[in-house]
């Protein structure tokens, strides 16, 4: 199964800046990035392993290529490749609605990791009110799980606070993270990696001075109450930004399900095989409090029969 992250946002919001940031930092997984405009990919030469026409291979396992065919044909082609990536990042065009685009990640072989929408703090409100593109911009914001409010260095703190209030009403399912030059922790964009065990409270934001995000792993022993867990994901007070993991739900005890959360949007899909149940959650303190969260999660587990 290939995880898919859709990155949307209006022209000029900073999608390419965010992508370049991801490419430089690496994702820790074999990654294919479908970009709109190959020419805008900017990485240091020493990161480039090979350049072949419309494909760029990086030394950190990322491969970049531009989209020449309809997306659905491209995805079917990727699915059939022997060297299919673990992670696919799709850069939506500046006017695309990421929500229907994300449906492409719900065909067999793929699963949606999340929709990330980049917004330009300087211009987003004006764009949202624009006669021709306002509706498109609003749709983009509403589709977001994680919203990267970019270019916050260009507006004052009061304006940022006002933007957060406004975005809460426009895009209630989005968790908004401030950023300068698209620099947000990679795991927030592409999701955590539960496959790799990490120390409790592991902190991977080494590259970022102001990065204060926290990661916590929850290993439920037993069946989870689906509605209660969804209630946690939808509760903005938890401070959860991203989550990924495999659990067993009480209403479908016969199978394990992959749960992926971006902002207050989540997707579950059945997974094959056996293994330990675990969910890795990324959040922003102070709302994200490990002890409170783990207590709340523990309360929704029924002992396995």
């Amino acid at each position: 199964m290939i995880d898919v992250v859709v990155i949307g946002g209006y022209l000029g919001a900073g999608k390419t800046t965010l992508l370049n940031h991801l490419l430089r930092e690496g994702t820790g997984r074999s990654t294919l990035v479908l970009v709109n405009d190959f020419g805008t990919v900017a990485v240091a030469d020493e990161l480039v392993a090979a350049r072949d026409g419309e494909m760029l291979t990086l030394t950190n396992g990322c491969v970049c290529c531009s989209l020449a065919s309809p997306l659905i044909d491209t995805l079917v082609g990727i699915r059939e490749r022997a060297d299919a990536p673990e992670l696919l990042i799709v850069e939506a065009s500046g006017v695309a609605d990421p929500e229907p685009l994300s449906h492409h990640a719900m065909i067999p072989g793929f699963r949606l990791s999340g929709i990330v929408v980049v917004a330009d703090a300087e211009t987003i409100e004006a764009r949202a009110g624009h006669e021709l593109v306002g509706r498109t911009v609003i749709r983009q914001l509403r589709s977001a799980g994680l919203m990267v409010l970019n270019k916050t260095d260009l507006v004052g703190p009061a304006a940022i606070e006002r933007l957060h209030d406004w975005l809460r009403t426009v895009a209630p399912s989005a968790v908004v993270v401030d950023a300068e030059h698209g620099a947000v922790p990679v795991a927030m964009v592409v999701g955590p990696q539960p496959e790799v065990p990490r120390p409790h409270g592991y902190h991977d934001g080494h590259a970022h001075h102001h990065d204060v995000h926290r990661t916590v792993t929850w290993s439920p022993v037993g069946l989870v109450d689906r509605a209660a867990l969804v209630g946690v994901f939808e509760d903005e007070r938890t401070g959860i930004v991203r989550a990924k993991g495999v659990v067993r739900f009480a209403d479908r005890p016969e199978r394990r399900e992959m749960v992926q959360v971006a902002g207050r949007r989540w997707h579950c899909s059945p997974v094959d095989g056996d293994g330990d149940d675990a969910l890795v959650l990324i959040g922003l303190p102070p709302a994200f409090d490990e002890a409170t969260l783990l207590d709340r999660l523990a309360a929704m587990v029924n002992a396995r029969e």
Binding site: A68, P70, I72, V76, V95, H103, H104, M106, P108, E131
Partner: protein
Amino acid sequence: MPTKIYRARQVVTMHRSNPIGTAVAVRDGRILAVGTYDECAQWGEHTIDDTFADKVIVPGFVEAHGHSMDALVVQFPYVGYFDYPLPDGSVARGARTYADVIERLRQADAALPDGDVLIANAFDPIYFPNEPRLTREHLDLVSTTRPIFVRHASGHLATVNSALLAKEGITRDCSTPGVARDGNGEPNGELQEPPAMSLAREASRIVSRGSFDPSVVGVHAQLCRNAGVTTSSELSGVMLLLPKLEDAWRAAVDAPTSPVRMVLYNLPSAPGSSADHDAAADAAVALARRDTPKFRNRGAKLVLDGSIQGWTAMLKWPGYITGTDHGQLLMAPEEMVEAVRAFHRRRLNVHAHCNGNATAEAFIDAVEEVLAADAWLDHRHVVQHSQTTLPAQYRRMGRLGLCANIFTNHIWYWGDQHASRTLGPDRARGMWACRTALEERVPLSIHTDSGVTPIGSLMPMWCAVNRVTVSGQVLGEHERITPYEALHAATLGAAFQLHMDREIGSIEPGKWADFAVLDDSPLDVDPMAIRDIGVWGTVVGGEVHAAPGR
């Protein structure tokens, strides 16, 4: 090469100074002279060809917004609502009822080897407002064992039968959005949008494999010949996106068995995605250097919105009269400026798909901005489809040198639906505003969007002249144009928008000997009979191509 003089009942030239003749002399594939036989004979030694002695010769029709993928419409069993012409000269009859659709599928089922998936094309639910949605239950009446995939005309939906659902494992547990359900939560057979359609893996593979295959060119060329079209176009050209196909396409178009010139306007990016337009325009310049007399690559095609009958075209206030407005721009206005600028600077023109008037406005704005900084006055950028363009927009277009290529076939095919369901009767009367365009000095062409409606210029002419819908109403009598204006739009007007009016579009010494050979003149018959005029065939570069049975 020897001179040949074709004598005809009449030669209609569309050349103002020399409008009518009875003979045309051809040498080296070009028009040597036109007028009386005696006038033509003054060029010396020649042979006489009286094949067209009782025919009317007009300039070969020029289709400035075609698609060679119309070959796909006819390669699969056809379940569209209207008759569709086939390459062999016969006609696929329209399926006017669900019983017709089922009967057509039964015939196709009987003709197909066991095990093959049955793919049918061009079903359009908009014509069945009083029927329930087409579902697997209808298609199960055809076969419970053979997988069946009925592609809708919009390309956005398909309806499949139970055998296909079972074979592809599409069950109630399927989590892909767009799998429509019945009251019990079971898939009802309708697959909406590409992700859900892709679940029908085998059928999707067959359909998408055919789309860009050069073999479609030969089929398209036969359809053109049968309809009098000597220059057609591919307005979704993929030579910039898939440059590996270039040689195969050129070879297919240049083949002597392919009796039509093809002009490609290439997409700089897949519709709805962005591109480096300067790089694309550089590639387009290089591509145009490799043109041949028959295979031409001109500028760019930009797809800027959706369709009106799909409620995805972007309309200015007050929008759609029924249904839900899904209108949106497929390219940001800022990017339109960059795209136009890149091609304009290299003196290649841009054809922009603008069904909605809000979209047309954004494109006109973009052209105005580019033109103010770079005065290529002869750009001939084109508002394509131009179905809802407003009078104030035509006034600007006239002053900015923008052309309109209006999709007049809609008047008959969807006119009633536009009056009742999309724009309402008042604004529908002002759609396809050919008269307004001409009055505002906007260079005009009319088109078929072949694949959406059948290739051939007599029908868009008939529509522009009569403005009669399927129900028989005249929709917008004040926007009618004359048969002469319509023939001009379908020949010289179209050639102008392709920057090819030096070479084609009229019967004028020096131009290519490209003719449509007709049984009657569209300028002389009852205007309501224009679409019924028989087409004998074509002459392309002096080569004669008869339609089947002629």
